[in-house]
Amino acid sequence: MEDILEKLVKAFGPSSKEEKVKGIVKEELKKCDCEINEDKFGNLVVHIPHDGPKLMLASHLDSIGFIVTDIDKNGLIRFTSIGGLRAAFLLGSRVLFENGIVGTVYHDDKDNPWEPKELKVEKFFIDIGAKSKKEAQALINIGTEGIFYPLYSRNGDRVISPSLDDRSGCAVLIELIRNVKKKNLKYDLYVVFTVQEEIGVKGARTSTYEITPDFGIAVDVTSALDYTDPHLNALELGKGPAIKVMDGGMITNIELRNELIEVSKKNKIPYQLEVITGGTTDAFAMQITKEGVKTAAVSIPTRYIHTQGEVVDLNDLKNAVSLIKSFIEK
């Protein structure tokens, strides 16, 4: 699992440019005996047919990112965000553009050059080391996309890296597909690696419409605020995957959620319950499509979401695999 995760987080894949990540997923699933297709919208859909109601699992391939809006007369790059970039966490960060160019983020506050007063993306720029506008234009265009430069490190069970949102979810689903006992499946299984989640859960909407599942489970990250004393919320790293009750966008289906809890208890898999007030996932889009889908979500507790240094505990990923596997098999 660690290796898959490392490959995934290092891949370039901001919203709308997920090709490289799709390539890795397809490569990892080469040996599985399942149908893998890309749908009309670009989502990667893995289908493991079996008798039973249709279950759709979803995690998103895309990460948040940067997009170039202007190149100024000094060759400095102006940008805006793809998805939820957090302004306070950009200063000093390293950015990697799709063509391999690397830059660093600073700000243009003329009155306070050391400590900017306004933390807004409009006041920031990226320096790629170009000496002039002309030189910069040879390297970068308006519309070029970038991501946090991938810096992966591991300390025991914990991983620090950008894009754990939601490459963790993708790693969990890949591992699940590789280990599932197809004969024992209770569902006609669709595993969807969605695109453009960070800019409006878009891939989830269109793929759910196409598949029309009976049930859905999204696998994404959730915010663990367990690094202060007392904790700011009830989610902790290492205490197991979180079974979502409610987030900023939706409430999960009670019956499905309770079933996940029962499965965890029965199989002695550690779990937590997630109640957060901000953020949402592909589950929001799945639940509300067409005549409705009974939807739940299994989340990986993650610290410092949407920064260059997100942190997860690998045991939570492994337990997420066990939980979902026990849920979908007899």
Partner: protein, 338 residues
Amino acid sequence: MANIELIKALSNAYGVSGFEDEVIEILKSEIKGYVDSFEVDGLKNLIAIKNLDSPKPKVMLNAHMDEVGLLVKGFTNDGFVKFTKVGGIDDRVLLGKRVVIGKNKVKGIVAVKPIHLQEANERKTVESAKDMVIDVGAKSKEEVQKIVNIGDFVGFDVSFESLSDDTYIGKAFDDRLGCALVSEIIKEKFNFPLIGLFSSQEEVGLLGATVGAFKYTPDISITLEGTISADFPDVSEHEKCTTLGNGPVITIKDNSVITDHKLREKLVKIAERLKIPYQFKQVFVGGTDSSRIQLTKSGVKVLVVAVPVRYIHSPVSLFKLSDYENTKKLIIEFLRSL
């Protein structure tokens, strides 16, 4: 040559979000005979259909019919009209402007306190629209209630005019220019199915487009807009967004959508090959119908191309005809390449 008469008629027509009827009538009579049929749905989207049985790709051309305006909310005891804003209007463009109210086009003005009577600090701020009223020249509440109804629309009273050969002013170029473009382009002959979605209620939440592509769902959709051009003083370099005269504006990303990369690259190649001037929208703000069309059913590939317009969402917007013509040319050539 661009059809100035059509642009003029569309610009002068009243079509505040939810009340697009006048615009629907003009468009219907304009494209009659060039399309196979049209429908007006429950939200007042006008959908024109052509060659539905032809082979793919199914292409949609989209522009919204509605404009920003006001809505009558109530009356004061002395016969003035209270209102609420429809769409994103800066309160500061309202004071002292001429308006018309409702189907009967009752004339009025947005009242403003004479400067002589304002305190020093009053001169520095503009009151909120909530506190403004419209004066229709009535003497009492009873009198105004006879001619104005709660729920009536209020539009800016402004006429289309030319400032020069190439420059025109008027209201609602966002997005009657798009409507004119779609009408002109849909008249051309193509080998694939073409759906014209003249959407309603874009300015109040992209509502028409949320349902407008459901019945006839395309493979590709091009939204034609009138977009922000802030290439004038008081705006910093990187906020100018687009420049008048520099040709059609291609959106890469806005607040609602990232347009299809491959289709956009193709569009740019065509512009370069045919030496049609073009520019990218450089402030990635705003939301367009394309984002809703994109998410219809199993998904649609979308593009957004716009004519740059100064002072949108105010009574006096301004555009250059050459930009309009280059936009039309670019889209027609793009469609021919499909």
